[in-house]
């Protein structure tokens, strides 16, 4: 240590400014990189949250959609799910179900019972993924199976397909 502090050959001294400036530049570049990375991460997360909130809102809306209700308000009718999942049965119901939503919004709905015995996929026939991101939100529902009022707990999932510009 003493040999370092008592060294009078001044090898470092003439370049002190350059070293100090280099350190400042490196520090600034690191600071700018961290700041921009944090901003990009924040932006991505807030957009993902916004997309999730949209999907969750649609899921809640569909779970309480009056034509889907069973014998009681809190039940989802399996019979109506059958009708919507198979447009060849009643294309009108499927059309009106999707007509409520913006034509620019591409999504499909999956409903399943928790025991895995029943599964429905409701789409309007124009849904293609094409490598796009999908945002999903689920709500727990009780599905009324058949006319004997047999009920099964299940999940209703809305999968929103992102626009290409998002």
């Amino acid at each position: 240590m003493s040999s370092f502090t008592n060294d009078e050959k001044a090898l470092l001294e003439p370049n002190n400014d350059i070293i100090a400036t280099t350190l400042v530049v490196i520090g600034f570049v690191v600071f700018a990189a961290i700041l921009s990375k944090t901003f990009i991460a924040f932006n991505d997360n807030s957009q993902a949250l916004e997309n999730y909130e949209q999907a969750a809102m649609i899921a809640n809306d569909i779970a309480s959609y009056p034509p889907l209700q069973g014998s009681r308000q809190e039940l989802v009718s399996a019979q109506m799910l059958d009708t919507l999942a198979d447009p060849s049965q009643n294309s009108q119901s499927n059309y009106i179900f999707f007509h409520r939503f913006s034509s620019n919004l591409e999504f499909y709905v999956e409903a399943r019972t928790d025991n895995g015995n029943y599964h429905w996929t409701i789409n309007n026939g124009n849904t293609t993924l094409g490598g796009r991101d999908v945002i999903a939100a689920s709500v727990p529902v009780v599905i009324e199976l058949g006319s004997n009022a047999r009920c099964e707990p299940g999940t209703l999932t809305v999968k929103v397909i992102q626009n290409r510009w998002n």
């Binding site: 003439p14 400036t21 530049v25 700018a32 809102m57 007509h99 919004l105």
Partner: protein, 209 residues
């Protein structure tokens, strides 16, 4: 003359006081400082435009979420009245005239003119939206189908519901440019279409001023 030049060169080369080194070093330092200060200034400038962009995004998201929340309500009594005064958003947008907001059937689009640059933000609407007021909607439906489509006067079964949806898609597709000093009204409405066997309900969100 030649001899004098040689003397000067010799003097510079043999000068041990390192003035040239010091001057070069200080000039490089000043240049580096100027470049760093310019970078900091540019960084701060781009940060302020990011803040403005965020503010415009907040306005677009707020209008879109208001329209969506009315659309998700399962009642025709759902209405909302939104004041667009920029002071309500607690934003730094000083001049209201710089902000242009338009609503189409699918998007809310906001543009802020800032020092000759346009800062834009768009939000997709979730529900089928018409830029019509309830009276215009009644007039259009009555004019085309002879019924205004409410529950007491559903549109006659001789017209398929696709006629109604196509007509409203054309008529309600025009962009609504908002006057930010006026309130924005959002109302959910249902058009009833009877096809003989059953009555179908077509749900829309109306946006008007």
């Amino acid at each position: 003359m030649k001899k004098r030049k040689e003397v000067i060169t010799h003097h510079l080369v043999s000068d041990d006081s390192a003035w040239a080194d010091l001057l070069l070093s200080k000039t490089a330092l000043i240049l580096a400082t100027v470049i760093i200060l310019m970078a900091v200034y540019t960084f701060a400038g781009s940060y302020s435009s990011l803040v403005k962009k965020d503010e415009v995004e907040i306005i677009a998201a707020d209008i879109a979420s208001n329209i969506d929340s009315i659309g998700s309500a399962h009642s025709d009594r759902s209405t909302a009245c939104l004041e667009l005064d920029t002071e309500n958003y607690e934003l730094k947008l000083s001049r209201r005239n710089d902000l242009n907001i338009s609503i189409s059937s699918e998007y809310v689009f906001c543009t802020l003119k800032d020092n000759g640059q346009d800062i834009t933000a768009a939000r997709q609407l979730s529900y089928r939206t018409l830029t019509l007021n309830p009276q215009d909607l009644c007039n259009i439906l009555t004019g085309s189908f002879g019924a205004d489509g409410n529950i007491n006067q559903p549109i006659n079964s001789e017209f398929s519901y696709t006629d109604v949806t196509d007509l409203l898609a054309n008529k309600g597709n025009e962009e609504l440019y908002l006057n930010t000093s006026k309130e924005l009204y959002i109302k959910r409405t249902t058009v009833f279409v009877a096809d003989g066997r059953e009555v179908n309900e077509l749900e829309y969100v109306l946006v008007y001023q």
